[in-house]
């Protein structure tokens, strides 16, 4: 699943470790999500959306939306 996490993180000048700490996950998890190798669970996706104050679908794209 594609996502804009890396862009959103860069816009705030956050490192992966900074974002990981704010989400209470490991830095490796942030890296895996950014590179599309791990799809976050629904609770984590909501957490990410709340952190960036954006709807989930503006951050994650499953390629199904028209």
């Amino acid at each position: 699943m594609k996502n804009r996490l890396k862009v959103l993180r860069a816009e705030r000048d956050w490192s992966q470790a900074e974002l990981a700490g704010r989400l209470d996950v490991s830095r490796q998890a942030v890296n895996a999500i950014e590179t599309g190798k791990h799809d976050p669970s629904l609770p984590l996706a909501f957490k990410i959306a709340r952190l960036f104050d954006m709807p989930i679908e503006d951050i994650f794209d499953d390629g199904e939306t028209a």
Partner: protein, 150 residues
């Protein structure tokens, strides 16, 4: 002008450092327990048996040491992993699940393969420690592959 290196950690980075420190302590405790088990069995082993060759009747250990090692094994293989699962995030937990699945599959498929190869005269008969090693290394290899691919 020389740019000063960013020295103040953000709140997220500080939490990440704390998480990493906690995991290092956890790893250290695991290593100490593993070393103690190995040290105790090595130092107090009174028999001529070997887990690898399967000659169980020659294994001999002081009963008190045996009970102590058993307790440490319960801590090392049940208590610590369960505690560890509570500390890791969903990504690492997924990798752990892949590892455990790999270990389970290694036993499920490894034993019958070993048995038929024994029947065909190519291997010694299957024994418990060998099956345990299959599970352990199957788990370890699956975990490593999951980590490398992620």
């Amino acid at each position: 002008m020389i740019l000063a290196k960013k020295s103040v950690l953000g709140p997220g980075e500080a939490r990440t450092r704390t998480r990493q420190r906690r995991q290092m302590i956890f790893l250290g405790v695991s290593v100490v327990i593993g070393g103690t088990i190995g040290g105790l069995t090595g130092a107090f082993d009174q028999g001529d048996g070997s887990l690898f060759s399967g000659d169980w009747d020659k294994l001999k250990l002081n009963p008190a040491i045996a009970v102590l090692v058993s307790a440490l094994l319960v801590i090392g293989f049940i208590a610590l992993p369960l505690r560890g699962f509570g500390q890791i995030d969903e990504f690492k937990r997924e990798n752990n699940f892949i590892g455990f699945t790999g270990g389970c599959l290694a036993v499920l498929v490894g034993f019958p393969i070993w048995a038929v190869l024994y029947a065909g005269g190519m291997l010694p008969p299957p024994h418990a420690f060998g099956i345990w090693l299959l599970g352990f290394f199957g788990m370890f290899a699956s975990y490593l592959i999951a980590r490398i691919r992620a």
